[in-house]
Symmetry: C2
Subunit: 329 residues, 2 copies
């Protein structure tokens, strides 16, 4: 398969599902069932979405977090979860469920049902049901307008760096050894944080709630890399964007860590994926409160192109990043 | 793992989820979101739930059907679907989705979103959202009372026989060859029907709707075998049951087919699984209309035992059948 197969398949699906049914395209399906329900499903497969050998407890918390990130991007309030879990014999179901239930409680989610099967590799699909927030609206990818400022809810690239660190080491986990090839205190400390960021993403529900109460906001959660997800936001809104490379928020020690890993920081920031922060557009003059730690990185344009500004250079930014059907694009 | 691990794990989960939260246990989670929503998820894994090499179009239709059967058992009206699909390179996504969308249209279901990944074996988890039917109620496993009659919505064992026929032959499909070891016109014709029954189960939505409009009815869909699912219904209702082996509805030619396959008809009828017909309890005197083709097979008892009556013999019926974590129980 060629790159971008996932987007192409989704476009084909949308044509078949029919016009006037704008359900496929947002992070969650927003359905008008009894006054507004957001539905989302995400899958985590051992060896595809996470490294083999990951503690089932960590895997469970991560599964919930990446799903909650989709609800955050819709501005929805988490309510219910359904789990389909296929795992091989010997899988630690109790460790998995203890962790999942604890994480559900922290986020006000009720595990409402599921389906269990025996299979390898471990494959967990979690469906979340969210409500429209009281007094709020659902956020859509299609609401960005020329002149809006583009914002990021947190740093980008760090999760991908954490994935690379873990791929060099032993069993993945918070205590995974930092490989000796990563030298220097700054890079090694950054590697520790990157591991944690990769394994335990923090869904931006508070930011999603704040956005849901704006008059107009457009949002997407960054799962497949800033470049690819920005293209998606622009496509849904029928707009383009310019982003400034120098404004991209990077984690402390990230540049040193990238040097040690042999990856370009910009490459990881733009295409590393699994950041699980919100990328959002707001009318100029509307600014998220400081406590939410957001950064303006560019602007929405009427011209339908996605442009990266580096100093005095402007270049088209391709939708590089993770394609779930084709592998790294 | 030992047999019945799935039921044991579910019991453990229920204790952890806490009392007064009777969500886990019914075929779908019945949630009080905005006036009543039923949620269900089912997974189909190549090599676990269906034979390797099955046409993706058939697989898609089957995936929807087994999920709809859960909604039928709750008396819910199908509304939305979410798909999590993990498939290896070369998988016929278009064939799969064409079939899924056509089946969705037939049943009034809207595909509202999903998640795609690349992995083997092909693993598809479908979440369905159903509504409470107008003027109806949701059906629960816990509503059976002593004295109720127990009914079946169709024949049992035929799907399992179809699975055995397919396991003997080449590529699974409606035109799969009937093995030469199955002799005699009656058995061979029964084998053809059993293949179709196995590959294309028909969810009993009309029966579910009828039951949803009764004053009291308890129902479960038979996915793991009559014996195991009857035990579940009884456990949820705090009752027992007696069923009469001679009343179990069997498909035409089923006995001959079982003889050719070397399986006992009663064994398949009680424990074969994947029947996807409804097992339900109704107060005596309430009878489903003839057009729904139901058969009374026994009675709910106050004594908490599940008993099989064969002629003048009575014996305890163990919860044999399919356990998703332990394999055949």
């Amino acid at each position: 398969m060629r790159p971008h197969d996932e987007d192409r398949l989704l476009a084909w699906l949308r044509r078949r599902v029919g016009p006037g049914r704008p359900l496929i395209g947002d992070d969650a399906a927003l359905i008008e069932l009894h006054g507004g329900v957001a539905l989302t499903v995400d899958t985590q497969i051992e060896g595809v979405h996470y490294l083999p050998g990951l503690d089932p407890a960590l895997m469970a918390a991560r599964l919930l977090a990446v799903n909650l990130s989709d609800l955050a991007a819709c501005g929805a309030e988490p309510a219910y979860a359904l789990l389909a879990l296929a795992a091989p014999p010997g899988f630690d179901h109790q460790g998995f469920f203890r962790s999942l239930l604890a994480a559900c409680r922290r986020h006000g989610v009720r595990l409402a049902g599921g389906d269990l099967a025996r299979s390898a590799p471990t494959t967990a699909a979690l469906t979340l049901v969210g409500r429209r927030r009281r007094g709020g609206r659902f956020l859509r990818r299609s609401a960005a307008r020329p002149g809006d400022l583009l914002w990021l809810g947190g740093t980008v690239g760090e999760s991908a760096a954490g994935r690379f660190v873990l791929a060099l080491g032993g069993a993945p986990g918070f205590r995974a050894p930092v490989p000796v090839s990563i030298r220097g205190a700054a890079a090694r400390a950054a590697a520790r944080r990157a591991i944690r960021r990769h394994l335990a993403p923090q869904p931006q529900l508070e930011l999603g709630a704040w956005l849901a109460h704006r008059r107009r906001a457009s949002a997407i959660d960054l799962s497949d890399g800033l470049a690819r997800d920005l293209h998606r936001l622009c496509r849904e809104s029928g707009v383009g964007a310019e982003i400034d490379a120098e404004r991209l928020p990077l984690a402390l020690g990230f540049t040193e860590l990238c040097a040690a890993l042999g990856h370009g920081p910009l490459e990881l920031a733009l295409g590393g994926g699994e950041d699980y922060v919100l990328l959002f557009a707001l009318p100029e003059g509307v600014r998220p409160p400081h406590r939410l730690g957001c950064t303006a990185i560019g602007r929405i344009t009427a011209r339908r192109a996605v442009v990266l500004i580096e100093g005095s250079t402007r270049r088209a930014l391709p939708p590089m990043g993770w394609d779930h059907l084709a592998g790294q694009g």
